[in-house]
Amino acid sequence: MTGVNFQFTRGKRNKANRTRSPATERVLTQLKMISQRRKQPKLLQVCQEDHIRHETITTAFKLYRQEINANRAKLLLKQYESIKYAMEDLEQINSYLFHEANTNQKGKRFDLEMRIPTEYPPNQIWLHDYTPAEVAEKK
């Protein structure tokens, strides 16, 4: 064999006397991080009773969400019909206003200042005089 450099070690080659460059080690770590074994969570082991309980709760929550979505769709439909009736009326009343209201709003943007709301917006933005609470000493 030519062109292959073996580093001869005394005895059998095993994990203990194996040498790898840090670059190789880094790639191996990365490969471990993306392996599917890490992503597959442990299968839940539940008894029959718990399983039925879980199914009941899941179904109830699904129905609850369906109801919310149906209400939302109903509201949107109402809004759509209101817009339609208003435009029909406007068309009869004033053609100029109708034309102005019916122009394409291409290029319209929401304000950049509009933030996506958080559930608990902070009253105090930054705790400038934070001191950790004293922990009782263990005896």
Binding site: L43, E55, R72, F110
Partner: protein, 269 residues
């Protein structure tokens, strides 16, 4: 007489057989290996969309007496010559590919964010193929989802690529993952990019999908990578595509501006 229906009703024989009961569980069943818990936490962006944006977008996109607007389609030959019979159809006028029809905007098709596709092409992987692994891991870190590998499709000796070389990674994220990605971008990453103007108004594929890119330096600002910065000496630029249900790019831009993305430049389409 009862007509036979066994020809019309499709039967899944897999479900009839008593074998392998564990493979017949529904996807939402916790005993299924493919089970993925959903709605485990509040989705801020979804709530914002349903509470504020949806009704506004319905009003903004409304036009009275809308008709179905036909897109550009391929043109048939008129058959005036016998040679027209086997001739391939002509492309649409002024374009090479067909465009979709634009349907009337109603309460049923208010534009919304469908998914985010993130693509990472690693040019250096031509010489150093191990960099693909780092790009894969980077995408996994910032998207919290399963990433797919990308391989070259063709042989181009001038570019130094052969068919089948690993050359990058891509990910498609939906729902809560996508919404978290959007809020991370808008609140933590984009505001800290120097000289960031926004997404250009020229971006878009004419059917409501907007794309923009981030450089390797910008990607370092993602909190998942920033908190572990010494491990991420080398990062890779990404292309982010927002696939929306909007029918035109202009409508998609209005939606994305509602999600907090700034836009700049002249808008044509």
């Amino acid at each position: 007489m009862v007509q036979p229906i066994h020809h019309t009703v499709k039967i899944n024989k897999r479900l009839l057989s008593p074998n392998y009961p564990e493979l017949k569980l529904a996807k939402h069943d916790i005993r299924n290996t493919a089970f993925k818990p959903a709605h485990t936490s509040q989705d801020r962006l979804q709530d914002h969309y349903t509470a504020t944006l949806e009704s506004d977008l319905l009003l903004i996109n409304y036009t009275h007496n809308q008709q179905r607007q036909e897109g550009l389609k391929t043109r048939e030959w008129d058959g005036s010559s016998p040679y027209h019979i086997n001739r391939p159809v002509r492309p649409p006028r002024g374009r090479l590919v067909q465009t979709k029809d634009i349907k009337p905007r109603t309460w049923k098709n208010v534009p919304q964010l469908e998914l985010i596709a993130i693509n990472c092409f690693v040019k250096e992987a031509k010489a150093q193929s191990h960099l693909v692994i780092a790009a894969h891991l980077q995408l996994q870190q910032i998207t919290n989802s399963k990433v797919q590998r990308v391989f070259t499709k063709s042989n181009v000796p001038q570019w130094g690529i052969r068919k089948g070389m690993p050359i990058g990674a891509k990910a498609e994220i939906f729902g809560a993952d996508a919404h978290t990605f959007v809020t991370t971008l808008n609140e933590l990453v984009l505001p800290r990019i120097r000289n960031f103007q926004g997404i250009t108004n020229k971006s878009g594929d004419r059917s409501g999908n907007i794309t923009f890119g981030l450089t390797p330096e910008d990607v370092k600002l993602f909190p998942e990578l920033e908190n572990n910065a010494e491990q991420w000496a080398k990062t890779f630029g990404i292309h982010i595509t927002f696939r929306t249900t909007a029918q035109t790019d202009a409508e998609a831009r209005i939606l994305l501006s509602g999600l907090g993305f700034p836009f700049y430049g002249e808008e044509k389409n």
